[in-house]
């Protein structure tokens, strides 16, 4: 019911985004996520400390300030769950929508400037925000539903450093292999199809440097001699192999897409028949009765995981804690998951998802997360210091210049 309406709204939002030409939607749908190490490692960067680690945390939630200023992805502050929150708490939610991870990082500069309270940032932005000193420690004992989260999202390395939490995890999702069922009567099982010259001129992938990680993930399985263990931590030879793979892929590409709406357009019109995309594009095309298929191939996939991070200078801290309490409860988690098309972090959300839309728990993998979760390499910012402490990994800035100068 509300679902298809919400999708339409989401689509309109996206059309509007496309029309302003301003938003790189690449990041829009939660363009980034994080955490390659799935067990909830420390996430700490050697030689770097979080400047705000010792700030005192809130002991008890007091009276609300009457307002809450949030930086969010489009579609993350739907009236479906924001209205009840406002009625329950008296905290008026003011939304500032950001189009990319980097816009979020920029808005959060100087601790949110004393203006913003929280940001729904993704894993690749989180570490940049908290190491810049723009996020504030959170007292998790004030957020009861956090204990119902899947263990991987309770203290993930992208928002928890040395046991200090800087926000509460939200939702996550995969970047899937999309294929037109007209061109592929049998579903492809490997990412190799997007590197296969047989499909020249039919392939579409995101116009985003983080795409290098997708190539690295593919090489991890197909070129074991490179010894890739984490697609976001690449040494120079591993990085070069991934970049070379993408440079060889370029002649096959019909379009590097910037906006989700572009990819939808290209599948609908037959400009592309195979490519990488998000569950959002799949559900939109399905809703339009287009024969689209999606699969997480045998190599696994990359994905994103978002967090509500608390700004260092949050002016409405009581309302912010009320929001974290509220957004982590199973019912609200289910509402957002079904509406947006992603996987909730709260394991009790499954029942509520099926109530909203039968079969949606299964569709978004909210019931079988562990093996599924292990197949997804969540996006994180590539940094020079590898997990083993050596400083021989290629940092993100070089990913960007390689994408612009060697791939495209």
């Amino acid at each position: 019911m509300t679902t298809s309406k919400a999708r339409r709204t989401a689509r309109r939002i996206k059309a509007a985004l496309a029309l302003t030409g301003a938003a790189i939607f690449v990041a829009g749908c939660g363009s980034s996520g994080s955490s390659g190490s799935q067990t909830g490692g420390s996430g700490s960067v050697s030689g770097q400390t979080v400047p705000t680690a010792n700030l005192p945390v809130l002991k008890t939630i007091g009276k609300g300030e009457g307002k809450l200023n949030l930086i969010a992805w489009e579609g993350y502050l739907s009236p479906i769950w924001v209205k009840p929150f406002e009625q329950q708490t008296g905290c008026q939610v003011n939304a500032k929508y950001a189009g990319s991870s980097d816009e979020m990082v920029a808005l959060m500069k100087n601790g949110g400037g004393g203006q913003y309270d929280m940001v729904s940032s993704s894993g690749d932005a989180d570490l940049r925000i908290l190491y810049a000193g723009d996020a504030r420690p959170v007292n998790m004992s004030l957020i009861p539903s956090w204990k119902e989260f899947f263990p991987a999202f309770q203290s993930p390395p992208f928002n928890t450093i040395n046991g200090v939490h800087y926000g509460v995890s939200l939702q996550w999702g995969p970047n899937v292999l999309m294929y037109s069922k007209k061109a592929f009567p049998t579903p492809p099982t490997s990412w190799s199809v997007i590197y296969d010259s047989k499909y020249k001129g039919q392939v579409t992938v995101p116009d985003n440097p983080i795409q290098i990680a997708d190539a690295a993930l593919y090489l991890e399985k197909h070129k074991p001699s490179l010894k890739i263990t984490d697609p976001y931590e690449l040494t120079q030879p591993q990085f070069q192999a991934a970049v070379n793979l993408l440079a060889a892929q370029r002649p096959l590409i019909e379009k590097y897409w910037d906006l989700a709406s572009q990819e939808i357009f290209d599948f609908k019109n037959g400009n592309a028949t195979i490519g990488a995309g998000w569950p959002y594009q799949v559900s939109t095309l399905k809703a339009d009765k287009f024969p689209i298929g999606d699969v997480i191939p045998s190599e696994g996939a990359t994905g994103w995981a978002d967090t509500w991070m608390l700004a260092a200078k949050a002016p409405d801290i009581n309302c912010a804690y009320m929001w974290m309490r509220y957004i982590s409860t199973p019912k609200v988690q289910a509402e957002q998951a079904v509406n947006y098309g992603e996987t909730p972090d709260n394991k009790l959300a499954c029942v509520y998802m099926d109530k909203i839309q039968a079969g949606s728990c299964e569709e978004y993998h909210a019931n079988a997360p562990l093996s599924y979760f292990d197949s997804i390499a969540l996006w994180k910012t590539p940094i020079a210091t590898c997990d083993n402490g050596k400083a021989d990994c290629v940092p993100y800035s070089e990913w960007v210049s390689a994408w612009n100068t060697e791939v495209k």
Partner: protein, 290 residues
């Protein structure tokens, strides 16, 4: 009182000028020039690769990268080549059109043509680019028309030919109007004199008309050239894998990499190119014709 003020101002012309000019001049200096200066300064800084905070360390690293990397040099040449090609084609298309409007059409037809040229400017830029996307797309209007004519289909979408076509279309009015203004200004007597002296129609056009219209053509080319030089949305929407232009590099570095200093350094390139272009245009007398 009012009389005394106006009398005082009348006696002091410099005070009159100061009061009149201060607000617009302050606006220009503060908002326009100051922004450019900040841009220039930022280009000599760099970012921390991890936090993407700007580090105020003076260096030429950004410019070195731009001018030593074959990829970025390629982008600059591609952009300038595209801007030049669009300008030439628009000038060739605009001249006969403007000539017809200025010297042949009845005043009624002229009004109709003016409306036809100016009306698209009222429509959203994006709406126009998206309609070209629908024309070029697989099975779109172009494919459909060609197949009905029994011709084979052409693959234009997501190529630089598509980008070129859309640029030529979108900037055409900016060429027609100054060329029209220049042609209209040519006194009829001069053309008659040329004919009386035995020049053929083609000679009159080549030796009298085009030289006199040249400032208008150059004025129009300033628009078409600079607008193409800075645009990134058309390549983003209808361009394919080689649609990497200067504007796209700037956009990517601000929007995705958050590398404002590098974007600023890249933005200096079209500014320098345009400055050189404008100096050349001034030498041709185009700036007086605008």
């Amino acid at each position: 009182m009012g009389f005394r003020v106006s009398a005082a101002l009348w006696r002091r012309p410099w005070a009159r000028a100061t009061i009149l000019l201060t607000p617009p001049l302050a606006w220009f200096v503060l908002l326009y020039l100051a922004a450019l200066v900040v841009l220039l300064i930022t280009a000599f800084w760099q970012i921390n690769p991890f936090t993407t905070n700007i580090e105020r360390v003076w260096n030429l690293g950004n410019f070195t990268t731009i001018f030593t990397s074959p990829a970025y040099r390629g982008v600059i040449f591609r952009t300038v080549g595209m801007a030049a090609a669009v300008t030439v084609v628009d000038a060739v298309v605009a001249f006969p059109f403007a000539y017809y409007m200025a010297r042949i059409a009845s005043s009624r037809t002229r009004t109709a043509l003016f409306v036809a040229i100016l009306l698209p400017l009222w429509a959203s830029y994006l709406a126009k680019v998206y309609s070209w996307l629908l024309i070029f797309t697989h099975g779109g209007l172009l494919d459909w028309s060609l197949s009905h004519l029994g011709l084979s289909q052409v693959h234009l979408i997501y190529t630089n030919w598509a980008v070129f076509t859309v640029f030529c279309y979108i900037w055409l009015p900016f060429m027609i109007i100054p060329v029209y203004a220049a042609l209209e200004r040519i006194p009829h007597s001069q053309l008659e004199a040329s004919e009386d002296l035995g020049a053929r129609a083609w000679q009159t056009t080549r030796l009298v008309m085009i030289p006199l219209a040249l400032p208008g053509i150059v004025a129009g080319s300033i628009f078409t050239f600079s607008l193409t030089l800075g645009d990134y949305i058309t390549p983003l929407l209808v361009g394919g894998t080689s649609a990497n232009f200067m504007g796209n590099i700037i956009y990517t570095n601000i929007g995705i990499a958050n590398n404002v200093p590098f974007a600023a350094a890249m933005a200096m390139v079209p500014i320098v190119i345009m400055a050189a272009y404008l100096l050349g245009a001034r030498a041709l007398g185009a700036l007086e014709a605008v």
